[in-house]
Point group: D2
């Protein structure tokens, strides 16, 4: 049995999130997901303030996102992020975005991340204890 890690963030849809179609622009959801993901990473021990010094960053290597229902100006959105899987050199996070007024699922997404040492851009193996602690147990 392993621990599971989850982070929940909330966002209110602002003008800068919307476009002239009257709904939230597809890029804005991904910005909201980044905030959730960054706080999820902090739970895993990746601290924003130390990253800038160590120059060791979690870097997105793949994104898959399904746009299901559009959100509108003023909607409150709950973003639920979960650490889904640990591989040797990358880990997967999973996201569900839900409108709080009607609990409708707006977005589902998953992202693969690697740990990359900048400025060289070299990927590093993930810490062994990550898999022990959070690896999927199926």
């Amino acid at each position: 049995m392993t621990d599971s890690i989850q982070m929940i963030t909330r966002e209110e849809v602002m003008f800068f999130d919307t476009d002239c179609g009257g709904v939230v622009h597809n890029l804005a959801y991904l910005r909201m997901i980044e905030t959730c993901r960054t706080r999820l990473a902090a739970l895993m021990g990746m601290n924003l303030r130390t990253m800038a010094e160590t120059q060791l960053f979690p870097v997105v290597t793949r994104t898959e996102v399904d746009y299901r229902t559009p959100a509108h100006l003023g909607d409150w959105i709950r973003i639920e992020g979960t650490l889904a899987e640990i591989e040797g050199a990358r880990f997967w996070c999973q996201f569900i975005m839900i409108r709080e007024s009607d609990e409708k699922i707006l977005i589902t997404a998953r992202q693969a991340l690697a740990l990359v040492q900048m400025p060289a851009g070299k990927p590093k193996r993930l810490p062994a204890e990550w898999r022990a602690r959070w690896g999927r147990n199926s």
Copy 2:
């Protein structure tokens, strides 16, 4: 004597807020100010969810911003917004952005806004009661 209106919001600096100079990008501060301003407008009775229906929007007509001290990844920033002045057809909001770790002033800014009826783009006179309630008393 008139009432005064203030709104305080907080933001944690994310990767998408920074640039390769290693500090927060100048546009990111203005996005944070928009969130503060939108919540300040809500206090004045301008509700985000009804705006989209009425198509009556507060529109920025002038921005002045002074960049004093740069913020970094992971900094927590407090944005203090104040309704500063009501004129016939526009009102001014004032903003101070402060880094919470050392209480340093990062940004000072002010913005003029008009109430605009979309899609025609016609500016409307501000409600008379605004000046009575919140007009500057000097």
Copy 3:
């Protein structure tokens, strides 16, 4: 045999595209892809200026993107977009992003789009002639 549709756009990496990791931020690539995709859609007859009037918009329903090599400030990037497949209610576009200085592949991506009638948000069937003209012939 059917026609094939391709659009090539170019972008120079600006400060607002980068983050404090020293490379282009993952959202910035998707903004560049949107510009390419919008011009690809114009080739298919979807005109930006008429969209705002007809309120019939091509809407992204799924994005898949692989981040292969990071770009840096000042890099020139070529974005090659192709109409890849027409289905009943959605079509797929495919993108490759290449750094011009060394012809390295930075990003590969594909996106599914639907035609959506706003503000109702109703998806419409794609025009029958699209499949005849541009449908995949394998």
Copy 4:
């Protein structure tokens, strides 16, 4: 008599530039201005690709922008940037944004910039030859 420096860039309004008010969002104009300003700086000898290495960056210290007429999806905008004034430790750029279809002025803006050595954040005196070459002569 001194030389004068000007840079003209063009942008087509994309979805990501607009908001649900149906017009271009106030932050999007400033992103377009940054592209113009960056190319203006290149004319002055500040090269994007060398900046990342030298870590000497032109940094905006003040922005003033007046929003005069809103632009819409699909509009082509011409951004005219001029080096307006050289002071001891900062220089001013001036911008006019014009819609090409009707030559209407959308935006006027000016920005002060300093040359800052990162990561220390120390401002440097401007090169003496700048004032000789481009200083205002009134």
